[in-house]
């Protein structure tokens, strides 16, 4: 290959996502969209509205992050007595009862990871918005990390759903999911969607055509 790297966009080329036809891109008049000349599928050089969509999903996730931590995630009803636990309440209880490794894990998986995802995506979005050319490779690694660890936060919800399904012993012991669980699931799903709707190619668009 040649020493100077050529991107598809730099070569004014796009690929049809449906039939894989390579097409030449041309400037679009406002209010119009590109279609594949062969199969008619909509063609977009970049994910459409990537920044706006990611911002929208990210803001929604950030809103849900508050009730996810303020409201109880699960309620344990035993002999008519209900005890409700928030995420941080569970962490505190685990640490206080000596199982601090599990408490630390819960703290990391349920509190830190969603926050880092929100924070990391927001930083990426802002860097793209400001057309930053700062360490595009580093930022791409961040993005991949955010995309990969995102699904692991769902672990809490799976555990909770199994407990809710299994522990149904009437008056003896019943586990009921709280408002916090729904909000937490919304945070995880929305941040995953936000990560997907973000287009990492945007990082490289302003990084200069030839890097390294």
């Amino acid at each position: 290959m040649s020493a100077t790297r050529t991107t598809a966009a730099g070569a004014s080329l796009v690929r049809c996502p449906s039939c894989d036809l390579l097409c030449g891109m041309k400037p679009l008049p406002p209010g119009s969209r590109a279609r594949c000349p062969r199969c008619g599928a909509a063609i977009r050089p970049r994910k459409p509205d990537s920044l706006a969509r990611t911002w929208a999903l990210l803001i929604a996730a950030a809103i849900f992050y508050i009730p996810a931590n303020v409201y109880p995630v699960m309620m344990i009803e035993s002999f008519g007595t209900t005890s409700a636990d928030t995420i941080m309440g569970g962490v505190k209880e685990l640490v206080a009862t000596g199982s601090w490794p599990i408490g630390l894990l819960l703290f990391f998986a349920s509190f830190c990871v969603p926050m880092l995802k929100l924070f990391g995506l927001a930083c990426l979005l802002m860097s793209v918005k400001r057309r930053s050319s700062w360490r595009p490779r580093q930022r791409t690694v961040w993005y991949r990390l955010i995309e990969v660890i995102g699904r692991w936060s769902m672990l809490d919800i799976f555990t909770l759903s199994i407990m809710v399904a299994l522990l149904k012993m009437g008056a003896l012991l019943t586990v009921v999911p709280g408002i916090g669980a729904g909000a937490f699931a919304a945070v995880v799903v929305l941040t995953m969607c936000a990560a997907i709707s973000f287009d990492p190619r945007l990082i490289w668009d302003d990084a200069g055509e030839t890097v390294r």
Binding site: K26, G31, A34, A52, A56, I63, I66, V70, T81
Partner: protein, 302 residues
Amino acid sequence: MNALVDGASRDGGIPEVAVTKQGRFSIIWIIPLIAAGIGGWLAYKSYADRGVPITITFSDGTGIAGGKTQVRYKGLTVGQVDSVRLGSNDTRVVVHATLEKSVGGLARGGSQFWVVRPRIGQGHVSGLGTILSGEYIQVRPGKGARATSFTGLEEPPLIDEDSRGLRLILKTDQLGSLQAGAPVYYREVVVGSVSGCRLTDAADGVNVYAFIEENYAPLVRENTRFWNASGVDVKLGLLSGLDVDIESLRAFLAGGVAFATPDNRDMGTQVSDGAVFTLYREPNYRWLTWKPKIPLGAGEGN
């Protein structure tokens, strides 16, 4: 390669994209709007439903746990304990609890709080449910202005003001074997119970607090006579032989109070809460012959 990069002179191999019209509306912003709506609604709801914080001090905090112990009124959960800690001088347990908003009026001057624990005495068992469910805090609302700080009772209050009925004070010199929970009999039918017994303020006698169930309240009139039906009454007579008189086994164990009301023209008017009677050591034989006709209260059949 160069031919490809040059957009003006494309080879026939790479066609141009077709261009069509596009509607311009980003539906994605509905998601954060919905999130903000749900979040705002939750915030408003927790603001609107925020409970009434109260503080209760007890001398003993056994079984009270933050986040678990409930505050109950008439058997319903009306609040929850948030935290329990020692007071500043380490002599009292300070319980911080939150009452639900709708029942915030339970926290008033004169409101009484006590911990319901299993209590087993002679002829008297209560709080058995708490063996499994754990202790809870019972509240009885007072009549004063709203308040937030209370001193908890160490024992359940003597007179159960929650249940409807007639509360009487019976004065006697000696308690005998009477105890809280002892039955009150009318014609050997249990119509109430003894709530508690206390020395009078001057210690010159004993006040027995009796509770008559609502539908039996009309039986108690101004001229009603009360006597102590505790224990066994053994009479040994030359002609009558051995006469053993026990009102009931429960009365035998915990003591009891019986009363009789004179025939209709002598009975007097119905009494109200707090009426004071003398509690005789034993019945006059004439009292046992009284047969007044008294329609019972509307509560009969409950």
